[in-house]
Protein backbone atom coordinates (compact mmCIF):
# COMPACT_ATOMS: atom_id res chain seq x y z
CA UNK A 1 0.00 0.00 0.00
CA UNK A 2 1.17 3.51 -0.78
CA UNK A 3 1.64 6.15 1.90
CA UNK A 4 -0.50 9.27 1.57
CA UNK A 5 2.60 11.12 0.41
CA UNK A 6 3.36 8.61 -2.35
CA UNK A 7 -0.27 8.62 -3.42
CA UNK A 8 -0.46 12.39 -3.68
CA UNK A 9 2.92 12.76 -5.41
CA UNK A 10 1.98 10.09 -7.93
CA UNK A 11 -1.34 11.78 -8.69
CA UNK A 12 0.39 15.14 -9.00
CA UNK A 13 2.92 13.56 -11.34
CA UNK A 14 -0.09 12.82 -13.61
CA UNK A 15 0.05 9.07 -12.95
CA UNK A 16 -2.49 6.79 -11.38
CA UNK A 17 -1.68 5.84 -7.77
CA UNK A 18 -3.42 3.00 -5.88
CA UNK A 19 -6.53 5.14 -5.42
CA UNK A 20 -7.71 8.71 -5.87
CA UNK A 21 -6.19 10.81 -3.05
CA UNK A 22 -8.51 12.67 -0.70
CA UNK A 23 -7.83 16.17 0.62
CA UNK A 24 -10.40 16.68 3.33
CA UNK A 25 -10.09 20.02 5.10
CA UNK A 26 -12.08 19.81 8.31
CA UNK A 27 -10.42 22.89 9.81
CA UNK A 28 -12.84 23.33 12.73
CA UNK A 29 -13.93 19.75 13.41
CA UNK A 30 -10.86 19.18 15.57
CA UNK A 31 -12.49 21.38 18.22
CA UNK A 32 -15.37 18.87 18.41
CA UNK A 33 -12.91 16.01 18.80
CA UNK A 34 -11.18 17.73 21.68
CA UNK A 35 -14.36 19.06 23.29
CA UNK A 36 -13.21 22.67 22.92
CA UNK A 37 -14.86 25.79 21.59
CA UNK A 38 -13.58 26.92 18.19
CA UNK A 39 -11.89 29.88 19.85
CA UNK A 40 -10.08 27.72 22.44
CA UNK A 41 -9.11 25.20 19.81
CA UNK A 42 -7.30 27.82 17.75
CA UNK A 43 -5.56 29.29 20.80
CA UNK A 44 -2.82 26.64 21.02
CA UNK A 45 -0.76 24.84 18.42
CA UNK A 46 -0.92 21.56 20.41
CA UNK A 47 -4.70 21.52 20.07
CA UNK A 48 -4.64 21.95 16.31
CA UNK A 49 -1.90 19.34 15.95
CA UNK A 50 -3.86 16.85 18.04
CA UNK A 51 -7.13 17.69 16.26
CA UNK A 52 -5.62 17.25 12.81
CA UNK A 53 -3.99 13.94 13.76
CA UNK A 54 -7.25 12.57 15.18
CA UNK A 55 -9.21 13.66 12.11
CA UNK A 56 -6.64 12.04 9.85
CA UNK A 57 -7.18 8.75 11.66
CA UNK A 58 -10.94 9.17 11.66
CA UNK A 59 -11.59 10.16 8.05
CA UNK A 60 -8.44 8.58 6.55
CA UNK A 61 -7.67 11.51 4.27
CA UNK A 62 -4.37 12.05 2.49
CA UNK A 63 -3.18 15.32 3.95
CA UNK A 64 -2.91 17.38 7.09
CA UNK A 65 -3.72 21.06 7.10
CA UNK A 66 -2.07 23.74 9.19
CA UNK A 67 -4.73 26.28 8.27
CA UNK A 68 -6.40 28.17 11.12
CA UNK A 69 -8.57 30.82 9.48
CA UNK A 70 -7.96 33.57 6.94
CA UNK A 71 -8.08 36.37 9.47
CA UNK A 72 -4.96 35.01 11.19
CA UNK A 73 -2.95 36.95 8.59
CA UNK A 74 -4.91 40.13 9.28
CA UNK A 75 -4.03 39.76 12.96
CA UNK A 76 -0.38 40.04 11.92
CA UNK A 77 -1.23 43.49 10.50
CA UNK A 78 -2.83 44.50 13.81
CA UNK A 79 -6.41 43.49 12.96
CA UNK A 80 -8.94 41.70 15.17
CA UNK A 81 -10.64 38.37 14.68
CA UNK A 82 -14.25 37.67 15.62
CA UNK A 83 -14.99 34.17 16.90
CA UNK A 84 -18.26 32.27 16.67
CA UNK A 85 -19.46 29.07 18.33
CA UNK A 86 -20.77 27.52 15.13
CA UNK A 87 -18.60 28.69 12.28
CA UNK A 88 -15.30 30.04 11.07
CA UNK A 89 -13.70 33.11 12.63
CA UNK A 90 -13.98 36.31 10.59
CA UNK A 91 -11.87 39.42 10.26
CA UNK A 92 -13.08 42.41 12.31
CA UNK A 93 -12.94 46.07 11.33
CA UNK A 94 -10.57 46.86 8.44
CA UNK A 95 -7.04 47.91 9.45
CA UNK A 96 -6.80 50.23 6.45
CA UNK A 97 -9.38 52.84 7.41
CA UNK A 98 -8.39 55.49 4.88
CA UNK A 99 -6.82 54.91 1.50
CA UNK A 100 -3.85 57.05 2.62
CA UNK A 101 -3.05 54.45 5.29
CA UNK A 102 -1.65 52.34 2.47
CA UNK A 103 1.15 54.85 1.96
CA UNK A 104 2.47 54.08 5.44
CA UNK A 105 1.65 50.38 5.64
CA UNK A 106 4.61 48.13 6.42
CA UNK A 107 4.73 44.35 6.10
CA UNK A 108 4.58 42.74 9.56
CA UNK A 109 7.31 40.26 10.53
CA UNK A 110 6.15 36.68 10.83
CA UNK A 111 8.08 35.99 14.04
CA UNK A 112 6.45 38.98 15.71
CA UNK A 113 2.91 37.78 15.03
CA UNK A 114 1.71 35.37 17.73
CA UNK A 115 -0.88 33.72 15.48
CA UNK A 116 1.58 33.01 12.69
CA UNK A 117 4.11 31.64 15.16
CA UNK A 118 1.39 29.28 16.37
CA UNK A 119 0.81 28.27 12.76
CA UNK A 120 4.49 27.43 12.35
CA UNK A 121 4.52 25.45 15.61
CA UNK A 122 1.54 23.53 14.28
CA UNK A 123 3.42 22.56 11.14
CA UNK A 124 6.46 21.49 13.16
CA UNK A 125 4.24 19.46 15.50
CA UNK A 126 2.50 17.73 12.61
CA UNK A 127 5.80 16.99 10.92
CA UNK A 128 7.09 15.34 14.09
CA UNK A 129 4.08 13.07 14.12
CA UNK A 130 3.98 12.01 10.46
CA UNK A 131 7.43 12.69 9.03
CA UNK A 132 7.31 12.33 5.26
CA UNK A 133 4.37 9.94 5.12
CA UNK A 134 1.56 12.50 4.89
CA UNK A 135 1.69 15.84 3.05
CA UNK A 136 1.28 18.87 5.30
CA UNK A 137 -0.47 21.72 3.53
CA UNK A 138 0.44 25.28 4.50
CA UNK A 139 -1.82 28.17 3.52
CA UNK A 140 -1.14 31.73 2.43
CA UNK A 141 -3.77 34.21 1.32
CA UNK A 142 -2.58 35.82 -1.90
CA UNK A 143 -1.32 39.42 -1.72
CA UNK A 144 -4.10 40.23 -4.18
CA UNK A 145 -6.96 38.70 -2.13
CA UNK A 146 -5.83 39.77 1.35
CA UNK A 147 -6.96 43.43 0.98
CA UNK A 148 -10.62 42.36 1.01
CA UNK A 149 -10.09 41.75 4.73
CA UNK A 150 -7.57 44.57 5.19
CA UNK A 151 -9.81 47.32 3.83
CA UNK A 152 -13.27 45.92 2.96
CA UNK A 153 -14.39 44.56 -0.38
CA UNK A 154 -16.14 47.66 -1.72
CA UNK A 155 -13.26 50.03 -1.08
CA UNK A 156 -10.78 47.53 -2.43
CA UNK A 157 -12.64 47.21 -5.74
CA UNK A 158 -12.61 50.98 -6.05
CA UNK A 159 -8.89 51.04 -5.28
CA UNK A 160 -8.17 48.53 -8.02
CA UNK A 161 -10.05 50.57 -10.60
CA UNK A 162 -9.19 54.07 -9.48
CA UNK A 163 -5.85 54.22 -7.68
CA UNK A 164 -3.20 52.20 -9.53
CA UNK A 165 -0.25 53.66 -7.61
CA UNK A 166 -1.65 52.89 -4.17
CA UNK A 167 -2.79 49.51 -5.40
CA UNK A 168 0.78 48.74 -6.51
CA UNK A 169 2.14 49.78 -3.12
CA UNK A 170 -0.36 47.58 -1.30
CA UNK A 171 0.61 44.64 -3.50
CA UNK A 172 4.30 45.20 -2.75
CA UNK A 173 3.70 45.24 1.01
CA UNK A 174 1.46 42.18 0.89
CA UNK A 175 3.83 40.30 -1.34
CA UNK A 176 6.77 40.79 1.02
CA UNK A 177 4.58 39.54 3.84
CA UNK A 178 3.13 36.62 1.88
CA UNK A 179 6.56 35.38 0.83
CA UNK A 180 7.98 35.52 4.33
CA UNK A 181 4.93 33.68 5.66
CA UNK A 182 4.81 31.04 2.92
CA UNK A 183 8.54 30.36 3.07
CA UNK A 184 8.52 30.15 6.87
CA UNK A 185 5.84 27.48 6.54
CA UNK A 186 7.97 25.58 4.05
CA UNK A 187 10.96 25.83 6.38
CA UNK A 188 8.85 24.55 9.28
CA UNK A 189 8.04 21.40 7.32
CA UNK A 190 5.10 22.13 5.04
CA UNK A 191 5.03 20.01 1.89
CA UNK A 192 3.29 22.60 -0.26
CA UNK A 193 1.55 25.95 0.01
CA UNK A 194 -2.07 26.46 -0.84
CA UNK A 195 -2.22 29.94 -2.35
CA UNK A 196 -5.74 31.21 -1.67
CA UNK A 197 -6.59 33.64 -4.42
CA UNK A 198 -10.37 33.86 -4.96
CA UNK A 199 -10.21 37.48 -6.00
CA UNK A 200 -8.50 36.34 -9.20
CA UNK A 201 -11.53 34.21 -10.01
CA UNK A 202 -13.70 35.37 -12.90
CA UNK A 203 -16.55 35.39 -10.40
CA UNK A 204 -14.89 38.43 -8.89
CA UNK A 205 -12.91 40.28 -11.55
CA UNK A 206 -12.88 40.15 -15.34
CA UNK A 207 -10.00 38.37 -17.05
CA UNK A 208 -8.55 41.51 -18.66
CA UNK A 209 -8.20 43.13 -15.26
CA UNK A 210 -6.93 39.92 -13.69
CA UNK A 211 -4.10 39.78 -16.22
CA UNK A 212 -2.95 43.24 -15.17
CA UNK A 213 -3.37 42.63 -11.44
CA UNK A 214 -3.82 39.28 -9.66
CA UNK A 215 -2.08 37.35 -12.40
CA UNK A 216 1.08 39.45 -12.30
CA UNK A 217 1.14 39.24 -8.53
CA UNK A 218 0.72 35.46 -8.64
CA UNK A 219 3.47 34.97 -11.22
CA UNK A 220 5.95 36.95 -9.13
CA UNK A 221 4.89 35.45 -5.82
CA UNK A 222 4.74 31.79 -6.80
CA UNK A 223 8.16 32.05 -8.42
CA UNK A 224 9.62 32.99 -5.03
CA UNK A 225 7.79 30.46 -2.88
CA UNK A 226 10.35 27.79 -2.03
CA UNK A 227 8.15 24.80 -2.74
CA UNK A 228 5.19 23.66 -4.81
CA UNK A 229 2.07 25.83 -4.73
CA UNK A 230 -1.55 24.97 -5.39
CA UNK A 231 -3.91 27.81 -6.26
CA UNK A 232 -7.32 27.80 -4.66
CA UNK A 233 -10.08 30.02 -5.96
CA UNK A 234 -12.16 29.15 -2.88
CA UNK A 235 -15.14 28.07 -5.00
CA UNK A 236 -14.93 31.04 -7.35
CA UNK A 237 -15.05 30.22 -11.06
CA UNK A 238 -11.88 29.73 -13.08
CA UNK A 239 -12.61 27.99 -16.39
CA UNK A 240 -12.08 31.26 -18.26
CA UNK A 241 -8.51 31.60 -16.95
CA UNK A 242 -7.19 28.03 -17.00
CA UNK A 243 -4.11 28.76 -19.11
CA UNK A 244 -3.42 31.97 -17.23
CA UNK A 245 -3.47 30.07 -13.96
CA UNK A 246 -1.13 27.49 -15.38
CA UNK A 247 1.25 30.27 -16.47
CA UNK A 248 1.63 31.34 -12.84
CA UNK A 249 3.50 28.09 -12.22
CA UNK A 250 0.83 26.59 -10.03
CA UNK A 251 0.93 22.81 -9.65
CA UNK A 252 -2.76 22.41 -8.88
CA UNK A 253 -6.04 24.34 -8.87
CA UNK A 254 -9.06 24.09 -6.57
CA UNK A 255 -12.22 23.78 -8.68
CA UNK A 256 -15.64 25.29 -7.88
CA UNK A 257 -18.81 23.22 -7.57
CA UNK A 258 -20.38 25.84 -9.86
CA UNK A 259 -18.26 24.47 -12.72
CA UNK A 260 -18.08 21.08 -14.40
CA UNK A 261 -15.06 18.98 -13.45
CA UNK A 262 -15.20 17.33 -16.88
CA UNK A 263 -14.64 20.73 -18.51
CA UNK A 264 -11.70 21.32 -16.19
CA UNK A 265 -10.25 17.90 -16.95
CA UNK A 266 -10.41 18.63 -20.66
CA UNK A 267 -8.88 22.08 -20.23
CA UNK A 268 -6.12 20.90 -17.88
CA UNK A 269 -4.91 18.17 -20.26
CA UNK A 270 -2.84 16.68 -17.44
CA UNK A 271 -0.68 19.80 -17.21
CA UNK A 272 -1.68 20.40 -13.59
CA UNK A 273 -3.70 18.68 -10.90
CA UNK A 274 -7.36 19.31 -10.14
CA UNK A 275 -8.56 19.52 -6.55
CA UNK A 276 -12.27 19.40 -5.93
CA UNK A 277 -15.09 19.91 -6.27
CA UNK A 278 -17.60 18.59 -3.72
CA UNK A 279 -20.05 21.24 -2.57
CA UNK A 280 -19.27 21.88 1.10
CA UNK A 281 -22.27 24.07 1.81
CA UNK A 282 -24.72 21.56 0.39
CA UNK A 283 -22.85 18.65 2.01
CA UNK A 284 -24.42 19.56 5.35
CA UNK A 285 -27.59 17.75 4.35
CA UNK A 286 -26.32 14.97 2.10
CA UNK A 287 -27.46 11.41 2.72
CA UNK A 288 -24.92 8.59 2.49
CA UNK A 289 -26.32 7.68 -0.93
CA UNK A 290 -25.94 11.25 -2.16
CA UNK A 291 -22.39 11.44 -0.84
CA UNK A 292 -21.60 8.27 -2.74
CA UNK A 293 -23.11 9.52 -5.95
CA UNK A 294 -21.28 12.87 -5.73
CA UNK A 295 -17.96 11.12 -5.13
CA UNK A 296 -18.59 8.74 -7.99
CA UNK A 297 -19.47 11.54 -10.38
CA UNK A 298 -16.37 13.55 -9.51
CA UNK A 299 -14.11 10.54 -10.01
CA UNK A 300 -15.80 9.66 -13.29
CA UNK A 301 -15.19 13.17 -14.58
CA UNK A 302 -11.65 13.79 -13.41
CA UNK A 303 -10.07 10.59 -12.10
CA UNK A 304 -8.61 9.07 -15.25
CA UNK A 305 -4.85 9.20 -15.63
CA UNK A 306 -4.20 10.74 -12.22
CA UNK A 307 -3.89 14.51 -11.84
CA UNK A 308 -6.93 14.52 -9.57
CA UNK A 309 -7.39 14.89 -5.83
CA UNK A 310 -10.89 14.56 -4.43
CA UNK A 311 -11.77 17.43 -2.10
CA UNK A 312 -14.48 19.93 -1.27
CA UNK A 313 -14.67 23.00 -3.49
CA UNK A 314 -13.61 25.61 -0.96
CA UNK A 315 -10.75 24.09 1.01
CA UNK A 316 -12.73 24.00 4.22
CA UNK A 317 -15.53 21.76 5.45
CA UNK A 318 -18.24 23.83 7.18
CA UNK A 319 -18.73 23.21 10.92
CA UNK A 320 -22.30 22.02 10.26
CA UNK A 321 -21.27 19.05 8.10
CA UNK A 322 -21.91 15.89 10.17
CA UNK A 323 -19.34 13.13 10.66
CA UNK A 324 -21.58 10.64 8.90
CA UNK A 325 -21.32 12.54 5.65
CA UNK A 326 -17.55 12.78 5.82
CA UNK A 327 -17.30 9.08 6.61
CA UNK A 328 -19.67 8.28 3.73
CA UNK A 329 -17.43 10.28 1.38
CA UNK A 330 -14.45 8.26 2.52
CA UNK A 331 -16.29 4.95 2.15
CA UNK A 332 -17.39 5.87 -1.34
CA UNK A 333 -13.79 6.58 -2.22
CA UNK A 334 -12.83 3.05 -1.20
CA UNK A 335 -15.60 1.74 -3.39
CA UNK A 336 -15.09 3.89 -6.49
CA UNK A 337 -11.64 5.44 -6.21
CA UNK A 338 -9.35 2.42 -6.65
CA UNK A 339 -7.16 2.52 -9.74
CA UNK A 340 -7.47 1.32 -12.39
CA UNK A 341 -10.98 2.77 -12.65
CA UNK A 342 -12.31 -0.28 -14.49
CA UNK A 343 -15.92 0.53 -13.69
CA UNK A 344 -15.68 3.53 -15.97
CA UNK A 345 -15.26 1.45 -19.13
Amino acid sequence: MMTAMQRVLTAMGQQEPDRVPLFLFPTMHGAKELGLSIREYFSRAEYVVEGQIRLLAKYRGDCLSAFYYASLEVEAFGGDTLFFDNGPPNAGEPIIRHDEDIDYLEPPRVMEAAGLVRGLETIRGLKERVGDTVPIIGVAISPFSLPVMQMGFDRYIELIYEQPVRFARLMAVNQTFCLEWANAQMAAGATAICYFDPLSSTTNIPRELYLKTGHRVAVETLRQIQGPAATHLASGRGLGIVDDLLATGTAAVGVSALEDLADWKAAARNRFTLIGNLNGVEMRRWTAAQAESEVKTAIAKAGRGGGFILSDNHGEIPWQVPDDVLLAIRDALDRWGRYPLDWLE
Partner: protein, 210 residues
Amino acid sequence: MDKLALEFYEALALLDRPRVEALFQQAISQKVPMQVVEELITPLLIRLGDEWSAGKIALSQIYMASRICEDIVERVLPAMAVERKAYPPMAIVVLNDYHTLGKRIVLSVMQASGFDVLDYGRMDVDALVGRILADGVKYLLVSVLMLPAALKVKTLRAALDARGAQVRIVVGGAPFLFDSELWREVGADAMGCNAADAVTIVQRWREEAA
Protein backbone atom coordinates in the same frame (compact mmCIF):
# COMPACT_ATOMS: atom_id res chain seq x y z
CA MET B 1 -34.95 53.64 -26.84
CA ASP B 2 -33.36 50.49 -28.32
CA LYS B 3 -30.26 52.10 -29.79
CA LEU B 4 -29.83 54.18 -26.68
CA ALA B 5 -30.22 51.11 -24.49
CA LEU B 6 -27.50 49.32 -26.39
CA GLU B 7 -25.12 52.25 -26.16
CA PHE B 8 -25.94 52.62 -22.49
CA TYR B 9 -25.21 48.98 -21.87
CA GLU B 10 -21.86 49.20 -23.63
CA ALA B 11 -20.84 52.32 -21.76
CA LEU B 12 -21.85 50.72 -18.47
CA ALA B 13 -20.01 47.49 -19.20
CA LEU B 14 -16.87 49.54 -19.86
CA LEU B 15 -17.57 51.57 -16.71
CA ASP B 16 -17.32 54.71 -18.84
CA ARG B 17 -18.93 57.11 -16.39
CA PRO B 18 -18.90 60.30 -18.56
CA ARG B 19 -20.51 58.45 -21.43
CA VAL B 20 -23.13 56.86 -19.16
CA GLU B 21 -23.99 60.28 -17.77
CA ALA B 22 -24.28 61.84 -21.23
CA LEU B 23 -26.58 59.05 -22.42
CA PHE B 24 -28.71 59.37 -19.31
CA GLN B 25 -29.07 63.12 -19.88
CA GLN B 26 -30.15 62.42 -23.43
CA ALA B 27 -32.76 59.96 -22.17
CA ILE B 28 -34.28 62.25 -19.55
CA SER B 29 -34.55 65.05 -22.07
CA GLN B 30 -37.08 62.83 -23.85
CA LYS B 31 -38.95 61.14 -20.99
CA VAL B 32 -39.73 61.63 -17.32
CA PRO B 33 -37.05 60.23 -15.00
CA MET B 34 -39.14 57.37 -13.62
CA GLN B 35 -39.88 56.15 -17.11
CA VAL B 36 -36.19 56.23 -17.99
CA VAL B 37 -35.45 54.26 -14.85
CA GLU B 38 -38.05 51.64 -15.67
CA GLU B 39 -37.36 51.32 -19.37
CA LEU B 40 -33.61 51.83 -19.45
CA ILE B 41 -31.82 51.43 -16.12
CA THR B 42 -33.65 48.54 -14.46
CA PRO B 43 -33.60 46.26 -17.53
CA LEU B 44 -29.87 46.84 -17.88
CA LEU B 45 -29.18 46.08 -14.24
CA ILE B 46 -31.22 42.91 -14.59
CA ARG B 47 -29.24 41.96 -17.67
CA LEU B 48 -25.94 42.54 -15.85
CA GLY B 49 -27.20 40.48 -12.91
CA ASP B 50 -28.13 37.60 -15.18
CA GLU B 51 -24.74 37.78 -16.86
CA TRP B 52 -23.02 37.56 -13.48
CA SER B 53 -25.16 34.56 -12.53
CA ALA B 54 -24.16 32.89 -15.79
CA GLY B 55 -20.47 33.53 -15.07
CA LYS B 56 -20.10 35.96 -17.98
CA ILE B 57 -19.16 39.09 -16.09
CA ALA B 58 -17.52 39.69 -12.74
CA LEU B 59 -18.64 41.05 -9.41
CA SER B 60 -16.30 44.05 -9.62
CA GLN B 61 -18.12 45.15 -12.78
CA ILE B 62 -21.51 44.68 -11.12
CA TYR B 63 -20.42 46.73 -8.15
CA MET B 64 -18.97 49.61 -10.16
CA ALA B 65 -21.85 49.67 -12.67
CA SER B 66 -24.53 49.67 -9.99
CA ARG B 67 -22.80 52.50 -8.11
CA ILE B 68 -22.71 54.60 -11.28
CA CYS B 69 -26.42 53.98 -11.90
CA GLU B 70 -27.27 54.76 -8.31
CA ASP B 71 -25.44 58.09 -8.54
CA ILE B 72 -27.06 59.27 -11.73
CA VAL B 73 -30.56 58.25 -10.68
CA GLU B 74 -30.25 59.82 -7.24
CA ARG B 75 -29.47 63.16 -8.83
CA VAL B 76 -32.83 63.29 -10.61
CA LEU B 77 -34.83 61.18 -8.19
CA PRO B 78 -33.48 61.78 -4.69
CA ALA B 79 -34.34 59.27 -1.98
CA MET B 80 -37.94 59.66 -0.75
CA ALA B 81 -38.82 61.90 -3.72
CA VAL B 82 -42.57 61.72 -4.42
CA GLU B 83 -41.93 60.43 -7.93
CA ARG B 84 -40.21 57.33 -6.55
CA LYS B 85 -42.06 54.05 -6.34
CA ALA B 86 -44.84 53.82 -3.80
CA TYR B 87 -44.19 50.47 -2.20
CA PRO B 88 -44.87 48.92 1.18
CA PRO B 89 -42.01 49.77 3.55
CA MET B 90 -38.88 47.80 2.73
CA ALA B 91 -35.60 47.33 4.56
CA ILE B 92 -32.30 45.60 3.92
CA VAL B 93 -30.04 44.07 6.55
CA VAL B 94 -26.89 42.04 6.96
CA LEU B 95 -27.77 39.41 9.52
CA ASN B 96 -25.15 38.32 12.10
CA ASP B 97 -22.47 38.72 9.48
CA TYR B 98 -19.68 41.19 8.88
CA HIS B 99 -19.75 41.27 5.13
CA THR B 100 -21.59 44.21 3.66
CA LEU B 101 -20.73 44.21 -0.05
CA GLY B 102 -23.77 42.14 -1.02
CA LYS B 103 -26.06 44.58 0.77
CA ARG B 104 -24.27 47.57 -0.77
CA ILE B 105 -24.84 46.22 -4.28
CA VAL B 106 -28.49 45.30 -3.70
CA LEU B 107 -29.12 48.76 -2.26
CA SER B 108 -27.52 50.45 -5.25
CA VAL B 109 -29.58 48.40 -7.66
CA MET B 110 -32.80 49.08 -5.74
CA GLN B 111 -32.12 52.82 -5.44
CA ALA B 112 -31.18 53.03 -9.11
CA SER B 113 -34.47 51.30 -9.92
CA GLY B 114 -36.47 53.89 -8.06
CA PHE B 115 -37.19 52.01 -4.83
CA ASP B 116 -36.71 53.46 -1.38
CA VAL B 117 -35.17 50.91 0.96
CA LEU B 118 -34.28 51.45 4.61
CA ASP B 119 -30.68 50.50 5.30
CA TYR B 120 -30.50 48.70 8.63
CA GLY B 121 -26.79 47.94 8.37
CA ARG B 122 -25.64 44.94 10.39
CA MET B 123 -27.99 43.63 13.05
CA ASP B 124 -28.77 40.59 15.16
CA VAL B 125 -32.19 38.99 15.34
CA ASP B 126 -33.61 40.61 18.49
CA ALA B 127 -32.79 44.18 17.59
CA LEU B 128 -33.92 43.57 14.03
CA VAL B 129 -37.38 42.32 14.98
CA GLY B 130 -37.99 45.41 17.11
CA ARG B 131 -36.94 47.67 14.29
CA ILE B 132 -39.09 45.89 11.71
CA LEU B 133 -42.17 46.24 13.89
CA ALA B 134 -41.46 49.87 14.67
CA ASP B 135 -41.04 50.79 11.01
CA GLY B 136 -43.90 48.60 9.80
CA VAL B 137 -41.60 46.91 7.30
CA LYS B 138 -43.41 44.53 4.95
CA TYR B 139 -40.59 43.34 2.68
CA LEU B 140 -37.27 42.46 4.27
CA LEU B 141 -34.13 41.91 2.21
CA VAL B 142 -31.45 39.87 3.97
CA SER B 143 -27.88 39.50 2.77
CA VAL B 144 -25.41 36.99 4.24
CA LEU B 145 -22.03 35.57 3.31
CA MET B 146 -21.32 32.96 5.97
CA LEU B 147 -23.35 29.76 6.38
CA PRO B 148 -24.12 30.31 10.11
CA ALA B 149 -25.58 33.69 9.18
CA ALA B 150 -27.77 32.06 6.54
CA LEU B 151 -29.03 29.57 9.13
CA LYS B 152 -29.90 32.48 11.43
CA VAL B 153 -32.75 33.43 9.10
CA LYS B 154 -34.63 30.52 10.64
CA THR B 155 -34.42 32.17 14.07
CA LEU B 156 -35.50 35.47 12.54
CA ARG B 157 -38.53 33.90 10.91
CA ALA B 158 -39.54 32.24 14.19
CA ALA B 159 -39.13 35.50 16.10
CA LEU B 160 -41.24 37.39 13.56
CA ASP B 161 -43.93 34.71 13.63
CA ALA B 162 -43.99 34.81 17.43
CA ARG B 163 -44.76 38.53 17.26
CA GLY B 164 -47.38 37.99 14.57
CA ALA B 165 -45.47 40.16 12.09
CA GLN B 166 -46.53 39.74 8.47
CA VAL B 167 -43.18 40.21 6.77
CA ARG B 168 -41.97 38.74 3.52
CA ILE B 169 -38.31 37.82 3.51
CA VAL B 170 -36.06 37.62 0.46
CA VAL B 171 -32.59 36.27 1.10
CA GLY B 172 -29.39 36.32 -0.95
CA GLY B 173 -25.65 35.78 -0.73
CA ALA B 174 -23.11 33.05 -1.45
CA PRO B 175 -24.43 30.23 0.81
CA PHE B 176 -27.78 30.38 -0.95
CA LEU B 177 -26.07 30.11 -4.32
CA PHE B 178 -24.27 26.95 -3.24
CA ASP B 179 -27.32 25.26 -1.74
CA SER B 180 -30.43 25.94 -3.76
CA GLU B 181 -32.70 24.44 -1.06
CA LEU B 182 -31.32 26.52 1.78
CA TRP B 183 -33.70 29.47 1.44
CA ARG B 184 -36.73 27.22 1.86
CA GLU B 185 -35.15 25.40 4.76
CA VAL B 186 -34.62 28.64 6.69
CA GLY B 187 -38.16 29.83 6.03
CA ALA B 188 -37.53 32.65 3.55
CA ASP B 189 -40.22 33.55 1.01
CA ALA B 190 -37.81 33.95 -1.87
CA MET B 191 -34.15 33.90 -2.78
CA GLY B 192 -32.25 36.14 -5.17
CA CYS B 193 -29.39 34.73 -7.23
CA ASN B 194 -28.01 38.18 -7.90
CA ALA B 195 -28.66 41.72 -6.74
CA ALA B 196 -31.09 42.59 -9.55
CA ASP B 197 -33.31 39.69 -8.53
CA ALA B 198 -34.31 41.84 -5.57
CA VAL B 199 -36.13 44.15 -8.02
CA THR B 200 -37.99 41.38 -9.80
CA ILE B 201 -38.97 39.68 -6.58
CA VAL B 202 -40.45 42.72 -4.83
CA GLN B 203 -42.22 43.68 -8.05
CA ARG B 204 -43.73 40.20 -8.18
CA TRP B 205 -44.88 40.42 -4.57
CA ARG B 206 -46.43 43.78 -5.25
CA GLU B 207 -48.34 42.45 -8.24
CA GLU B 208 -49.52 39.43 -6.25
CA ALA B 209 -50.84 41.74 -3.54
CA ALA B 210 -52.68 43.98 -6.02
